[in-house]
Subunit: 318 residues, 2 copies
Protein backbone atom coordinates (compact mmCIF):
# COMPACT_ATOMS: atom_id res chain seq x y z
CA UNK A 1 0.00 0.00 0.00
CA UNK A 2 1.26 3.45 -0.92
CA UNK A 3 1.79 5.85 1.92
CA UNK A 4 0.59 9.46 1.94
CA UNK A 5 1.39 12.50 4.05
CA UNK A 6 -0.65 15.37 5.42
CA UNK A 7 0.95 18.80 5.81
CA UNK A 8 -0.55 21.61 7.88
CA UNK A 9 0.74 25.18 7.45
CA UNK A 10 -0.47 27.55 10.15
CA UNK A 11 -0.05 31.26 9.52
CA UNK A 12 -1.47 34.32 11.21
CA UNK A 13 -3.77 35.08 8.28
CA UNK A 14 -4.30 31.73 6.57
CA UNK A 15 -4.36 28.01 7.23
CA UNK A 16 -3.46 25.46 4.58
CA UNK A 17 -3.70 21.69 4.56
CA UNK A 18 -2.17 19.51 1.86
CA UNK A 19 -1.97 15.83 1.04
CA UNK A 20 1.18 14.58 -0.67
CA UNK A 21 2.45 11.26 -1.87
CA UNK A 22 5.57 9.61 -0.46
CA UNK A 23 7.80 11.65 -2.78
CA UNK A 24 6.39 14.95 -1.55
CA UNK A 25 4.24 15.56 -4.63
CA UNK A 26 1.24 17.60 -3.51
CA UNK A 27 -2.07 16.01 -4.58
CA UNK A 28 -4.62 18.29 -2.95
CA UNK A 29 -4.71 21.51 -1.00
CA UNK A 30 -7.32 23.37 1.06
CA UNK A 31 -6.90 26.96 2.26
CA UNK A 32 -8.98 28.97 4.70
CA UNK A 33 -8.50 32.20 6.64
CA UNK A 34 -7.13 31.71 10.16
CA UNK A 35 -9.48 34.29 11.66
CA UNK A 36 -6.98 34.42 14.48
CA UNK A 37 -9.23 36.81 16.43
CA UNK A 38 -11.56 33.84 17.04
CA UNK A 39 -8.85 32.12 19.08
CA UNK A 40 -7.09 28.75 18.94
CA UNK A 41 -10.14 26.52 19.54
CA UNK A 42 -11.75 27.83 16.37
CA UNK A 43 -8.56 27.46 14.32
CA UNK A 44 -7.85 23.94 15.57
CA UNK A 45 -11.41 22.76 14.88
CA UNK A 46 -11.16 24.27 11.40
CA UNK A 47 -7.80 22.57 10.80
CA UNK A 48 -9.08 19.16 11.80
CA UNK A 49 -12.01 19.54 9.38
CA UNK A 50 -9.68 20.79 6.64
CA UNK A 51 -7.43 17.74 7.04
CA UNK A 52 -10.39 15.40 6.53
CA UNK A 53 -11.60 17.48 3.58
CA UNK A 54 -8.17 17.38 1.93
CA UNK A 55 -7.85 13.62 2.43
CA UNK A 56 -11.32 13.16 0.92
CA UNK A 57 -10.55 15.43 -2.07
CA UNK A 58 -7.43 13.34 -2.72
CA UNK A 59 -9.62 10.23 -2.89
CA UNK A 60 -7.95 8.74 0.16
CA UNK A 61 -8.92 7.47 3.59
CA UNK A 62 -7.42 8.41 6.96
CA UNK A 63 -5.87 4.92 7.15
CA UNK A 64 -3.70 5.68 4.12
CA UNK A 65 -1.98 8.64 5.85
CA UNK A 66 1.30 7.65 7.51
CA UNK A 67 2.25 10.96 9.10
CA UNK A 68 1.18 14.56 9.68
CA UNK A 69 3.63 17.49 9.60
CA UNK A 70 2.76 20.86 11.08
CA UNK A 71 4.62 24.09 10.32
CA UNK A 72 3.66 26.84 12.76
CA UNK A 73 5.05 30.08 14.14
CA UNK A 74 7.20 29.54 17.21
CA UNK A 75 8.14 29.43 19.96
CA UNK A 76 7.08 25.82 20.35
CA UNK A 77 8.41 22.61 21.81
CA UNK A 78 9.09 19.99 19.14
CA UNK A 79 9.21 17.12 21.66
CA UNK A 80 5.90 17.77 23.42
CA UNK A 81 4.28 19.51 20.44
CA UNK A 82 3.10 22.43 22.60
CA UNK A 83 2.90 25.90 20.97
CA UNK A 84 3.78 28.93 23.11
CA UNK A 85 2.29 32.31 22.14
CA UNK A 86 3.55 32.92 18.59
CA UNK A 87 3.43 36.68 17.89
CA UNK A 88 1.10 36.09 14.91
CA UNK A 89 -1.34 33.80 16.77
CA UNK A 90 -2.80 35.62 19.76
CA UNK A 91 -4.15 33.31 22.48
CA UNK A 92 -2.15 30.26 21.37
CA UNK A 93 -0.68 29.99 24.82
CA UNK A 94 0.70 26.58 25.75
CA UNK A 95 -1.59 24.94 23.20
CA UNK A 96 -0.96 21.14 23.02
CA UNK A 97 -1.32 21.07 19.24
CA UNK A 98 0.38 17.72 18.58
CA UNK A 99 -1.77 16.04 21.24
CA UNK A 100 -4.99 17.53 19.83
CA UNK A 101 -4.17 16.36 16.30
CA UNK A 102 -3.06 12.88 17.36
CA UNK A 103 -6.15 12.46 19.55
CA UNK A 104 -8.33 13.06 16.48
CA UNK A 105 -6.44 11.10 13.82
CA UNK A 106 -4.24 8.61 15.65
CA UNK A 107 -1.50 9.42 13.14
CA UNK A 108 2.07 10.33 14.25
CA UNK A 109 2.39 14.14 14.09
CA UNK A 110 5.55 16.26 13.93
CA UNK A 111 5.47 19.97 14.78
CA UNK A 112 8.20 22.44 13.86
CA UNK A 113 8.51 26.21 13.79
CA UNK A 114 8.00 27.65 10.33
CA UNK A 115 11.58 28.89 9.76
CA UNK A 116 13.08 25.50 10.65
CA UNK A 117 10.48 23.64 8.60
CA UNK A 118 11.16 25.93 5.63
CA UNK A 119 14.89 25.31 6.00
CA UNK A 120 14.22 21.57 5.86
CA UNK A 121 11.99 22.04 2.80
CA UNK A 122 14.73 24.05 1.02
CA UNK A 123 17.15 21.23 1.87
CA UNK A 124 14.85 18.49 0.57
CA UNK A 125 13.13 20.19 -2.37
CA UNK A 126 14.80 23.56 -3.03
CA UNK A 127 18.12 25.35 -3.17
CA UNK A 128 19.65 23.23 -0.41
CA UNK A 129 19.37 19.89 -2.23
CA UNK A 130 22.60 17.90 -1.97
CA UNK A 131 24.16 20.12 0.73
CA UNK A 132 25.04 18.81 4.19
CA UNK A 133 25.19 22.20 5.93
CA UNK A 134 22.38 24.56 4.99
CA UNK A 135 21.52 27.91 6.56
CA UNK A 136 18.14 29.28 5.52
CA UNK A 137 17.22 32.88 6.32
CA UNK A 138 13.84 34.51 5.95
CA UNK A 139 13.99 38.18 4.94
CA UNK A 140 10.55 39.76 4.90
CA UNK A 141 8.59 41.28 7.79
CA UNK A 142 11.21 39.71 10.07
CA UNK A 143 14.52 37.92 9.72
CA UNK A 144 14.38 34.35 10.94
CA UNK A 145 16.45 31.31 10.24
CA UNK A 146 16.80 27.58 10.27
CA UNK A 147 19.91 25.42 10.35
CA UNK A 148 19.90 22.01 8.66
CA UNK A 149 22.93 19.80 9.25
CA UNK A 150 23.13 16.40 7.59
CA UNK A 151 19.42 16.48 6.83
CA UNK A 152 18.37 17.29 10.40
CA UNK A 153 17.13 20.55 11.89
CA UNK A 154 19.56 21.89 14.49
CA UNK A 155 17.13 22.55 17.35
CA UNK A 156 19.25 23.61 20.30
CA UNK A 157 18.35 23.25 23.96
CA UNK A 158 14.73 24.44 23.76
CA UNK A 159 14.04 24.67 20.02
CA UNK A 160 15.30 28.26 19.83
CA UNK A 161 18.40 27.77 17.66
CA UNK A 162 18.56 29.67 14.38
CA UNK A 163 17.35 33.06 15.61
CA UNK A 164 19.91 34.61 13.30
CA UNK A 165 17.90 37.81 12.84
CA UNK A 166 18.40 38.73 16.46
CA UNK A 167 22.15 38.80 16.48
CA UNK A 168 22.94 42.30 17.64
CA UNK A 169 25.18 44.34 15.35
CA UNK A 170 24.59 47.87 16.69
CA UNK A 171 23.70 47.83 20.42
CA UNK A 172 22.64 51.48 20.27
CA UNK A 173 20.90 51.06 16.91
CA UNK A 174 17.20 51.04 16.05
CA UNK A 175 14.72 49.30 18.33
CA UNK A 176 13.79 45.76 17.26
CA UNK A 177 10.43 44.03 17.64
CA UNK A 178 12.11 41.73 20.18
CA UNK A 179 12.73 44.67 22.52
CA UNK A 180 16.51 44.87 21.98
CA UNK A 181 18.36 47.37 19.81
CA UNK A 182 20.32 46.97 16.59
CA UNK A 183 19.43 43.37 15.77
CA UNK A 184 20.01 42.36 12.13
CA UNK A 185 16.20 42.25 11.84
CA UNK A 186 15.91 45.87 13.03
CA UNK A 187 18.26 46.89 10.21
CA UNK A 188 17.34 44.66 7.25
CA UNK A 189 13.76 43.37 7.48
CA UNK A 190 11.26 44.85 5.03
CA UNK A 191 9.84 47.32 7.58
CA UNK A 192 13.40 48.23 8.69
CA UNK A 193 14.44 48.99 5.10
CA UNK A 194 11.29 51.10 4.73
CA UNK A 195 12.08 53.03 7.93
CA UNK A 196 15.63 53.73 6.80
CA UNK A 197 14.31 54.78 3.38
CA UNK A 198 11.79 57.19 4.92
CA UNK A 199 14.47 58.79 7.08
CA UNK A 200 16.84 59.06 4.10
CA UNK A 201 14.20 60.71 1.90
CA UNK A 202 13.73 63.47 4.51
CA UNK A 203 17.43 64.31 4.15
CA UNK A 204 17.73 63.68 0.41
CA UNK A 205 14.40 64.39 -1.25
CA UNK A 206 15.89 64.18 -4.79
CA UNK A 207 14.80 60.57 -5.35
CA UNK A 208 12.26 58.55 -7.34
CA UNK A 209 11.22 56.86 -4.11
CA UNK A 210 8.63 59.40 -3.15
CA UNK A 211 6.88 59.26 -6.53
CA UNK A 212 6.74 55.45 -6.38
CA UNK A 213 4.84 55.77 -3.10
CA UNK A 214 2.36 58.31 -4.51
CA UNK A 215 4.26 61.15 -2.89
CA UNK A 216 3.52 59.91 0.62
CA UNK A 217 6.68 59.33 2.60
CA UNK A 218 5.04 57.01 5.14
CA UNK A 219 3.92 54.72 2.31
CA UNK A 220 7.47 54.03 1.11
CA UNK A 221 8.16 50.31 1.41
CA UNK A 222 11.09 48.01 0.71
CA UNK A 223 9.55 47.07 -2.66
CA UNK A 224 9.81 50.73 -3.74
CA UNK A 225 13.47 50.76 -2.75
CA UNK A 226 14.13 47.73 -4.96
CA UNK A 227 12.22 49.24 -7.86
CA UNK A 228 13.95 52.63 -7.63
CA UNK A 229 17.37 50.95 -7.28
CA UNK A 230 16.70 48.97 -10.49
CA UNK A 231 15.95 52.30 -12.17
CA UNK A 232 19.33 53.59 -11.04
CA UNK A 233 18.06 55.92 -8.31
CA UNK A 234 21.11 56.94 -6.26
CA UNK A 235 19.42 57.09 -2.87
CA UNK A 236 17.75 53.71 -3.37
CA UNK A 237 21.07 52.18 -4.46
CA UNK A 238 22.77 53.51 -1.32
CA UNK A 239 19.95 52.01 0.79
CA UNK A 240 20.43 48.66 -0.97
CA UNK A 241 24.18 48.80 -0.35
CA UNK A 242 23.64 49.68 3.31
CA UNK A 243 21.23 46.75 3.63
CA UNK A 244 23.76 44.47 1.94
CA UNK A 245 26.49 45.66 4.30
CA UNK A 246 24.50 44.76 7.43
CA UNK A 247 23.29 41.48 5.90
CA UNK A 248 26.83 40.64 4.80
CA UNK A 249 28.24 41.46 8.24
CA UNK A 250 25.63 39.28 9.95
CA UNK A 251 26.12 36.45 7.45
CA UNK A 252 29.93 36.69 7.79
CA UNK A 253 29.51 36.07 11.52
CA UNK A 254 27.22 33.12 10.77
CA UNK A 255 29.70 31.76 8.24
CA UNK A 256 32.44 31.82 10.91
CA UNK A 257 30.20 30.20 13.52
CA UNK A 258 28.30 27.64 11.42
CA UNK A 259 30.50 27.12 8.31
CA UNK A 260 27.52 26.44 6.01
CA UNK A 261 27.93 25.19 2.45
CA UNK A 262 25.02 27.31 1.34
CA UNK A 263 23.08 30.27 2.73
CA UNK A 264 19.62 30.58 1.19
CA UNK A 265 17.80 33.87 1.71
CA UNK A 266 14.05 34.27 1.19
CA UNK A 267 11.52 36.84 -0.05
CA UNK A 268 13.36 40.19 -0.30
CA UNK A 269 16.58 38.53 -1.50
CA UNK A 270 14.56 36.54 -4.04
CA UNK A 271 12.89 39.71 -5.31
CA UNK A 272 16.15 41.69 -5.37
CA UNK A 273 18.42 38.97 -6.79
CA UNK A 274 22.02 39.90 -7.51
CA UNK A 275 21.31 43.60 -7.00
CA UNK A 276 21.31 42.78 -3.28
CA UNK A 277 23.12 39.43 -3.27
CA UNK A 278 26.29 40.59 -5.03
CA UNK A 279 27.13 43.29 -2.45
CA UNK A 280 26.20 40.81 0.31
CA UNK A 281 28.65 38.30 -1.19
CA UNK A 282 31.39 40.95 -1.38
CA UNK A 283 30.86 41.90 2.27
CA UNK A 284 30.95 38.27 3.39
CA UNK A 285 34.18 37.73 1.43
CA UNK A 286 35.69 40.75 3.22
CA UNK A 287 34.42 40.10 6.75
CA UNK A 288 34.37 36.29 7.13
CA UNK A 289 37.44 34.12 7.66
CA UNK A 290 39.02 32.90 4.46
CA UNK A 291 38.51 29.15 4.89
CA UNK A 292 34.74 29.13 5.59
CA UNK A 293 34.22 32.05 3.15
CA UNK A 294 35.88 30.06 0.35
CA UNK A 295 33.34 27.29 0.53
CA UNK A 296 30.03 29.08 1.10
CA UNK A 297 27.49 29.96 -1.62
CA UNK A 298 24.98 32.74 -0.94
CA UNK A 299 21.84 32.27 -3.00
CA UNK A 300 18.17 33.19 -3.12
CA UNK A 301 15.78 30.63 -1.66
CA UNK A 302 14.08 28.57 -4.36
CA UNK A 303 10.69 27.47 -3.11
CA UNK A 304 8.89 30.83 -3.13
CA UNK A 305 5.20 30.72 -2.22
CA UNK A 306 5.14 26.93 -2.09
CA UNK A 307 7.56 26.82 0.84
CA UNK A 308 4.79 26.63 3.47
CA UNK A 309 3.16 23.50 2.03
CA UNK A 310 6.49 21.80 1.40
CA UNK A 311 7.75 22.81 4.86
CA UNK A 312 4.98 20.84 6.53
CA UNK A 313 5.47 17.89 4.18
CA UNK A 314 9.27 17.83 4.63
CA UNK A 315 8.87 17.31 8.38
CA UNK A 316 7.30 13.92 7.83
CA UNK A 317 9.64 12.81 5.06
CA UNK A 318 12.62 13.33 7.34
Amino acid sequence: MDSYIVGIDIGGTKLATVVADGNGKILQKVRKPTESEKGPQHAVRLLLEMVDETIHLAGLKREEISGIGVSCGGPLDTKTGVVYSPPNLPGWDALPLKELIEAEFHIPTTIENDANASALAEWRFGGGRGYNYVLYMTMSTGIGGGIVANGQVYHGANDSAGEVGHQILLPTGPLCGCGKRGCLEALCSGPAIARRAQAAIREHPQTQLLALADGQIDRVRSEHVLEAARNGDALALSLINETAYYMGWGIANLVNILNPEIVLIGTIAVAAGDLLLDPIRRTVAEMAMQRPAEVVRIMPAELGDSVGDLAAIALVMN
Copy 2:
Protein backbone atom coordinates in the same frame (compact mmCIF):
# COMPACT_ATOMS: atom_id res chain seq x y z
CA MET B 1 40.78 -8.37 25.86
CA ASP B 2 40.70 -4.84 27.28
CA SER B 3 41.01 -2.04 24.78
CA TYR B 4 43.31 0.95 25.21
CA ILE B 5 43.54 4.32 23.51
CA VAL B 6 46.43 6.55 22.48
CA GLY B 7 46.03 10.33 22.57
CA ILE B 8 48.36 12.77 20.82
CA ASP B 9 48.26 16.46 21.73
CA ILE B 10 50.23 18.66 19.33
CA GLY B 11 50.99 22.20 20.43
CA GLY B 12 53.34 24.83 19.11
CA THR B 13 55.72 24.45 22.07
CA LYS B 14 55.13 20.90 23.35
CA LEU B 15 54.02 17.47 22.21
CA ALA B 16 52.30 15.03 24.53
CA THR B 17 51.31 11.41 24.07
CA VAL B 18 49.11 9.51 26.50
CA VAL B 19 47.73 6.00 26.85
CA ALA B 20 44.31 5.61 28.47
CA ASP B 21 42.02 2.73 29.25
CA GLY B 22 38.57 2.35 27.71
CA ASN B 23 37.06 4.68 30.32
CA GLY B 24 39.46 7.50 29.49
CA LYS B 25 41.65 7.00 32.58
CA ILE B 26 45.15 8.12 31.64
CA LEU B 27 47.76 5.47 32.45
CA GLN B 28 50.95 6.98 31.05
CA LYS B 29 52.09 10.23 29.53
CA VAL B 30 55.21 11.39 27.68
CA ARG B 31 55.96 15.06 26.94
CA LYS B 32 58.63 16.58 24.72
CA PRO B 33 59.23 20.02 23.25
CA THR B 34 57.85 20.45 19.72
CA GLU B 35 60.93 22.33 18.50
CA SER B 36 58.68 23.61 15.76
CA GLU B 37 61.61 25.37 14.08
CA LYS B 38 62.89 21.91 13.06
CA GLY B 39 59.79 21.44 10.89
CA PRO B 40 57.08 18.82 10.63
CA GLN B 41 59.26 15.81 9.67
CA HIS B 42 61.16 16.14 12.96
CA ALA B 43 57.96 16.52 15.01
CA VAL B 44 56.20 13.61 13.33
CA ARG B 45 59.20 11.28 13.80
CA LEU B 46 59.36 12.33 17.44
CA LEU B 47 55.62 11.74 17.90
CA LEU B 48 55.76 8.24 16.43
CA GLU B 49 58.61 7.36 18.83
CA MET B 50 56.73 8.93 21.77
CA VAL B 51 53.65 6.83 21.02
CA ASP B 52 55.69 3.63 21.15
CA GLU B 53 57.44 4.82 24.32
CA THR B 54 54.11 5.61 26.03
CA ILE B 55 52.61 2.24 25.05
CA HIS B 56 55.73 0.52 26.39
CA LEU B 57 55.67 2.51 29.69
CA ALA B 58 52.04 1.46 30.16
CA GLY B 59 53.13 -2.19 29.90
CA LEU B 60 51.14 -2.65 26.71
CA LYS B 61 51.71 -3.73 23.11
CA ARG B 62 50.66 -1.97 19.91
CA GLU B 63 48.10 -4.72 19.31
CA GLU B 64 46.21 -3.69 22.45
CA ILE B 65 45.56 -0.16 21.15
CA SER B 66 42.16 0.18 19.46
CA GLY B 67 42.37 3.79 18.34
CA ILE B 68 44.52 6.91 18.18
CA GLY B 69 43.15 10.42 18.68
CA VAL B 70 45.08 13.50 17.62
CA SER B 71 44.32 17.04 18.82
CA CYS B 72 46.15 19.61 16.73
CA GLY B 73 45.88 23.28 15.82
CA GLY B 74 43.74 23.86 12.74
CA PRO B 75 42.87 24.38 10.00
CA LEU B 76 42.75 20.71 9.16
CA ASP B 77 40.49 18.30 7.32
CA THR B 78 38.95 15.72 9.64
CA LYS B 79 37.99 13.40 6.78
CA THR B 80 41.35 13.17 5.07
CA GLY B 81 43.40 13.90 8.20
CA VAL B 82 45.48 16.54 6.40
CA VAL B 83 46.76 19.51 8.45
CA TYR B 84 46.91 22.94 6.73
CA SER B 85 49.37 25.52 8.09
CA PRO B 86 48.29 26.03 11.72
CA PRO B 87 49.58 29.45 12.88
CA ASN B 88 51.55 27.79 15.71
CA LEU B 89 53.15 25.08 13.53
CA PRO B 90 55.19 26.72 10.77
CA GLY B 91 55.82 24.47 7.77
CA TRP B 92 52.94 22.08 8.52
CA ASP B 93 51.53 22.73 5.08
CA ALA B 94 49.13 20.09 3.76
CA LEU B 95 50.74 17.48 6.02
CA PRO B 96 48.93 14.10 5.72
CA LEU B 97 49.17 13.44 9.46
CA LYS B 98 46.49 10.74 9.74
CA GLU B 99 48.05 8.83 6.84
CA LEU B 100 51.54 9.03 8.38
CA ILE B 101 50.31 7.74 11.74
CA GLU B 102 48.17 4.96 10.26
CA ALA B 103 51.02 3.85 7.97
CA GLU B 104 53.20 3.33 11.03
CA PHE B 105 50.75 1.76 13.48
CA HIS B 106 47.89 0.35 11.36
CA ILE B 107 45.50 1.67 14.03
CA PRO B 108 42.43 3.80 13.13
CA THR B 109 43.36 7.45 13.76
CA THR B 110 41.03 10.43 14.27
CA ILE B 111 42.28 14.00 13.89
CA GLU B 112 40.46 17.07 15.17
CA ASN B 113 41.34 20.70 15.74
CA ASP B 114 42.22 21.45 19.35
CA ALA B 115 39.22 23.67 20.14
CA ASN B 116 36.73 21.09 18.85
CA ALA B 117 38.57 18.24 20.60
CA SER B 118 38.58 20.23 23.86
CA ALA B 119 34.85 20.89 23.49
CA LEU B 120 34.30 17.15 23.12
CA ALA B 121 36.49 16.49 26.20
CA GLU B 122 34.50 19.01 28.27
CA TRP B 123 31.32 17.25 27.11
CA ARG B 124 32.61 13.77 28.00
CA PHE B 125 34.72 14.45 31.10
CA GLY B 126 34.20 18.06 32.21
CA GLY B 127 31.61 20.78 32.66
CA GLY B 128 29.55 19.64 29.70
CA ARG B 129 28.70 16.16 31.05
CA GLY B 130 25.01 15.38 30.62
CA TYR B 131 24.30 18.28 28.24
CA ASN B 132 23.12 17.78 24.66
CA TYR B 133 24.08 21.23 23.37
CA VAL B 134 27.49 22.44 24.54
CA LEU B 135 29.41 25.51 23.39
CA TYR B 136 33.04 25.59 24.53
CA MET B 137 35.06 28.79 24.18
CA THR B 138 38.79 29.20 24.68
CA MET B 139 39.78 32.56 26.14
CA SER B 140 43.55 32.94 26.33
CA THR B 141 45.94 34.13 23.60
CA GLY B 142 43.02 33.77 21.21
CA ILE B 143 39.30 33.09 21.39
CA GLY B 144 38.32 29.85 19.73
CA GLY B 145 35.38 27.56 20.07
CA GLY B 146 33.87 24.16 19.58
CA ILE B 147 30.22 23.15 19.27
CA VAL B 148 29.11 19.72 20.53
CA ALA B 149 25.55 18.69 19.74
CA ASN B 150 24.23 15.35 20.94
CA GLY B 151 27.76 14.14 21.63
CA GLN B 152 29.10 15.02 18.18
CA VAL B 153 31.35 17.88 17.08
CA TYR B 154 29.52 20.25 14.73
CA HIS B 155 32.09 20.45 11.92
CA GLY B 156 30.49 22.51 9.19
CA ALA B 157 31.29 22.34 5.50
CA ASN B 158 35.10 22.28 5.76
CA ASP B 159 35.77 21.80 9.48
CA SER B 160 35.70 25.55 10.16
CA ALA B 161 32.57 25.80 12.31
CA GLY B 162 32.94 27.22 15.81
CA GLU B 163 35.18 30.19 14.99
CA VAL B 164 33.20 32.16 17.54
CA GLY B 165 36.12 34.47 18.34
CA HIS B 166 36.03 35.94 14.87
CA GLN B 167 32.48 37.20 14.94
CA ILE B 168 32.88 40.89 14.26
CA LEU B 169 31.36 43.23 16.84
CA LEU B 170 33.07 46.52 15.94
CA PRO B 171 33.96 46.68 12.22
CA THR B 172 36.13 49.76 12.82
CA GLY B 173 37.60 48.38 16.06
CA PRO B 174 41.09 47.08 16.84
CA LEU B 175 42.92 44.94 14.30
CA CYS B 176 42.65 41.18 14.88
CA GLY B 177 45.29 38.54 14.23
CA CYS B 178 43.02 37.23 11.46
CA GLY B 179 43.41 40.48 9.51
CA LYS B 180 39.88 41.82 10.17
CA ARG B 181 38.88 44.50 12.68
CA GLY B 182 36.84 44.32 15.86
CA CYS B 183 36.51 40.54 16.19
CA LEU B 184 35.56 39.32 19.66
CA GLU B 185 39.14 37.97 19.86
CA ALA B 186 40.60 41.43 19.14
CA LEU B 187 38.64 42.78 22.13
CA CYS B 188 38.73 40.03 24.75
CA SER B 189 41.71 37.70 24.27
CA GLY B 190 44.51 37.98 26.86
CA PRO B 191 46.68 40.17 24.60
CA ALA B 192 43.62 42.29 23.69
CA ILE B 193 42.80 42.89 27.37
CA ALA B 194 46.45 43.83 27.94
CA ARG B 195 46.38 46.28 25.04
CA ARG B 196 43.22 47.92 26.33
CA ALA B 197 44.74 48.07 29.81
CA GLN B 198 47.93 49.72 28.54
CA ALA B 199 45.94 52.35 26.65
CA ALA B 200 43.73 52.98 29.70
CA ILE B 201 46.70 53.42 32.05
CA ARG B 202 48.07 56.17 29.81
CA GLU B 203 44.84 58.11 30.35
CA HIS B 204 44.26 57.12 33.98
CA PRO B 205 47.63 56.53 35.65
CA GLN B 206 46.07 56.35 39.16
CA THR B 207 45.93 52.55 39.22
CA GLN B 208 47.64 49.61 40.88
CA LEU B 209 48.13 48.08 37.46
CA LEU B 210 51.42 49.77 36.77
CA ALA B 211 52.96 48.68 40.08
CA LEU B 212 51.90 45.05 39.44
CA ALA B 213 53.86 45.16 36.17
CA ASP B 214 56.98 46.56 37.87
CA GLY B 215 56.16 50.06 36.67
CA GLN B 216 56.52 49.11 33.00
CA ILE B 217 53.41 49.80 31.03
CA ASP B 218 54.28 47.44 28.18
CA ARG B 219 54.55 44.57 30.69
CA VAL B 220 50.94 44.90 31.83
CA ARG B 221 49.11 41.67 31.08
CA SER B 222 45.57 40.34 31.54
CA GLU B 223 46.67 38.55 34.74
CA HIS B 224 47.54 41.91 36.27
CA VAL B 225 44.11 43.25 35.36
CA LEU B 226 42.46 40.33 37.17
CA GLU B 227 44.69 40.76 40.23
CA ALA B 228 44.13 44.53 40.47
CA ALA B 229 40.39 44.09 39.97
CA ARG B 230 40.30 41.62 42.87
CA ASN B 231 42.03 44.29 44.96
CA GLY B 232 39.25 46.72 44.06
CA ASP B 233 41.27 48.86 41.63
CA ALA B 234 38.74 51.03 39.79
CA LEU B 235 40.49 51.07 36.42
CA ALA B 236 40.98 47.30 36.45
CA LEU B 237 37.33 46.78 37.37
CA SER B 238 36.23 48.95 34.49
CA LEU B 239 38.46 46.92 32.15
CA ILE B 240 36.89 43.69 33.46
CA ASN B 241 33.40 45.10 32.95
CA GLU B 242 34.27 46.23 29.45
CA THR B 243 35.63 42.74 28.69
CA ALA B 244 32.46 41.20 30.13
CA TYR B 245 30.31 43.49 27.99
CA TYR B 246 31.99 42.41 24.75
CA MET B 247 32.06 38.74 25.80
CA GLY B 248 28.40 38.96 26.88
CA TRP B 249 27.41 40.60 23.59
CA GLY B 250 29.22 37.93 21.58
CA ILE B 251 27.78 35.12 23.70
CA ALA B 252 24.26 36.60 23.47
CA ASN B 253 24.54 36.36 19.69
CA LEU B 254 25.76 32.76 20.00
CA VAL B 255 22.91 31.94 22.39
CA ASN B 256 20.40 33.23 19.81
CA ILE B 257 22.06 31.33 16.98
CA LEU B 258 23.00 28.04 18.68
CA ASN B 259 20.69 27.86 21.74
CA PRO B 260 23.23 25.97 23.88
CA GLU B 261 22.37 24.47 27.26
CA ILE B 262 25.79 25.42 28.57
CA VAL B 263 28.60 27.74 27.51
CA LEU B 264 31.96 26.72 29.01
CA ILE B 265 34.73 29.30 28.88
CA GLY B 266 38.40 28.43 29.38
CA THR B 267 41.60 29.90 30.88
CA ILE B 268 40.91 33.61 31.60
CA ALA B 269 37.30 32.91 32.62
CA VAL B 270 38.53 30.06 34.84
CA ALA B 271 41.10 32.35 36.50
CA ALA B 272 38.64 35.24 36.87
CA GLY B 273 35.60 33.23 37.97
CA ASP B 274 32.45 35.15 38.87
CA LEU B 275 34.32 38.47 38.82
CA LEU B 276 34.14 38.16 35.02
CA LEU B 277 31.34 35.60 34.63
CA ASP B 278 28.67 37.48 36.59
CA PRO B 279 28.79 40.60 34.40
CA ILE B 280 28.95 38.33 31.33
CA ARG B 281 25.79 36.57 32.55
CA ARG B 282 24.03 39.90 33.12
CA THR B 283 24.92 41.10 29.63
CA VAL B 284 23.69 37.85 28.05
CA ALA B 285 20.42 38.13 29.99
CA GLU B 286 20.01 41.67 28.63
CA MET B 287 21.08 41.10 25.02
CA ALA B 288 19.91 37.56 24.15
CA MET B 289 16.32 36.55 23.42
CA GLN B 290 14.38 35.51 26.48
CA ARG B 291 13.68 31.87 25.57
CA PRO B 292 17.25 30.74 24.78
CA ALA B 293 18.63 33.01 27.57
CA GLU B 294 16.37 31.32 30.14
CA VAL B 295 17.89 27.91 29.57
CA VAL B 296 21.62 28.63 29.14
CA ARG B 297 24.24 28.29 31.89
CA ILE B 298 27.51 30.20 31.52
CA MET B 299 30.29 28.49 33.43
CA PRO B 300 34.06 28.19 33.59
CA ALA B 301 35.55 25.19 31.76
CA GLU B 302 36.44 22.39 34.15
CA LEU B 303 39.33 20.43 32.70
CA GLY B 304 42.12 23.00 33.12
CA ASP B 305 45.59 21.86 32.11
CA SER B 306 44.47 18.29 31.49
CA VAL B 307 42.19 19.32 28.63
CA GLY B 308 44.81 18.61 25.95
CA ASP B 309 45.33 14.97 26.95
CA LEU B 310 41.63 14.35 27.42
CA ALA B 311 40.82 16.14 24.16
CA ALA B 312 42.86 13.61 22.19
CA ILE B 313 41.39 10.70 24.14
CA ALA B 314 37.78 11.91 23.79
CA LEU B 315 38.09 11.75 19.99
CA VAL B 316 38.48 8.00 20.08
CA MET B 317 35.84 7.37 22.73
CA ASN B 318 33.24 9.07 20.58
